[in-house]
């Protein structure tokens, strides 16, 4: 039911972990099935220098976290904010319909991490 890309990102997830003294941290939970996704950002000169994730959830949740981190790595904040769950799904060659909500989690987690970064940044 999963594409080869999803299985690859699930089996060999990119950018797993946490960043000490991250510039932004976003944690979102999906009330629907109780899954949690956490994104850590390191930002310099408005560019995402490093990004890591931790995810409690299904195979699709882990794969979309992994793919989403790859897609925002090295991007500007503005570019990263434009990341949609649709784009993440397309990059993974699609997800089963029952798993679309897991990809929303990835989009929301990145946005939450950026918001956290912007909040800290603006108060500096």
């Amino acid at each position: 039911m999963y594409t080869d890309k999803v299985l690859d990102h699930f089996a060999n997830p990119r950018n797993v972990g946490a960043i000490e003294q991250a510039d932004g941290v976003g944690t979102v939970g999906n009330a629907k099935c109780g899954d949690i996704m956490q994104i850590y950002l390191k930002v310099e000169n408005n560019i995402i220098q490093d990004v890591k994730f931790k995810t409690f959830g299904c195979g699709a949740a882990i794969a979309t976290s992994s793919m989403a981190t790859e897609m925002v790595m090295g991007k500007t904040i503005e570019e990263a904010l434009k990341l949609t769950n649709r784009a993440v799904m397309e990059a993974l060659d699609g997800l089963p319909p029952a798993k679309v909500h897991c990809s929303l989690l990835a989009e929301e987690a990145i946005q939450a991490a950026i918001e956290d970064y912007q909040k800290k940044h603006s108060s500096e």
Binding site: Y2, L7, F10, A11, P13, V16, T27, K32, C33, G34, D35, I36, M37, Q38, K54, T55, F56, G57, C58, G59, A60, A61, I62, A98, C102
Partner: protein, 389 residues
Amino acid sequence: MNRIYLDNAATTPVSQQVLDKMLPYFRQEYGNASSIYQTGREARKAVDTARRQAAAAINAKVQEVYFTAGGSESDNWAIKGAAFALASKGNHIITTSVEHHAVLHTCQWLEKQGFDVTYLPVDEYGRVTAAQVEQAINDKTILITIMAANNEIGTLMPIAEIAKVAKEHKVLFHTDAVQCMGAVPVDVTQWGVDMLSLSAHKFHGPKGVGLLYIRSGVKIDSLIHGGAQERGKRAGTENLPGIVGFGEATELASSKQQENARRLTLLRDELIEGLLRTIPHVRLNGHPTERLPGNVNVSIQYIEGEAMLLRLDMAGIAASSGSACTSGSLDPSHVLLAIGLPHEIAHGSLRFSLSDESTQQDIDEVLKTLPGIVKTLRDMSPIFPEKEV
């Protein structure tokens, strides 16, 4: 890669002996059992033989055995058939909150037709007591339907005690024994049940064939109307190869039951103990001893079931989970919630179900593979308390 199949509660492979018995009934003796010519008579004989085998295996009379298209049909027929036949006497049905969906959804549908259903809560192990059942009986109660063994957590219900209460109050008692054949003794007389469901594919028979035992004298309405098959109670040209397979599978399962249960109980307990010993933050779901010989169900905290299943599959091991993420719905297994597990613990559930084809090596392989998978996924989990590693 050597594939290890530990999802026998979902389905089992058809055994060679059963398959060999079935094959001639596709091309050689393919007749309609209602026809009077030679191949029709052969078909009739084969159905009769299968019915004798099945009746003997559950200690019933031959005329009390009805073949159906599976466990779901048997459950539907028993429950709807009894409800409609007895509607003039009352409209109350008693069941439990941990039944298979074939029972639960049937009861929920009957509620829409005006029936009243009591879903008894279970204890932390997934059991109800006969006393609970007795308390729920009122003068409108027409049917009690309670499973003999739970398909998810393996817990055995006190069927004989519940049957006694049902009889004292003159209420019909149906049990879904789909998980029991070949695992525990299935004896309709000793249990004292009025109706009982079985499904062939759970004990090395073919998929799509079931049985409903209906005690002589018990009258329920038909579900499938048409021809006069199954003594006029269940229409449809007999599924000849399937029924032949059912008969052979029941005979094999009941003849091997004792030896099977003894061996599987040892493997089961070894797997349970091994998992509890090698993986921190694990709990056993279901009763420690009053459980199916082949059922292991654990919750592994801080990670999610589907992710474990995928990784196990990559290692060649097939199992199942009650996680919401595998259910296609938004909630984890109703059974795990009914025994009191919070959502996030139910999320991390894994079921390994053994059959007589399972081996010591299968168990060893799980114990070798799973701890590493758990560690990898916990390292990825934002809710795992790292300091406790």
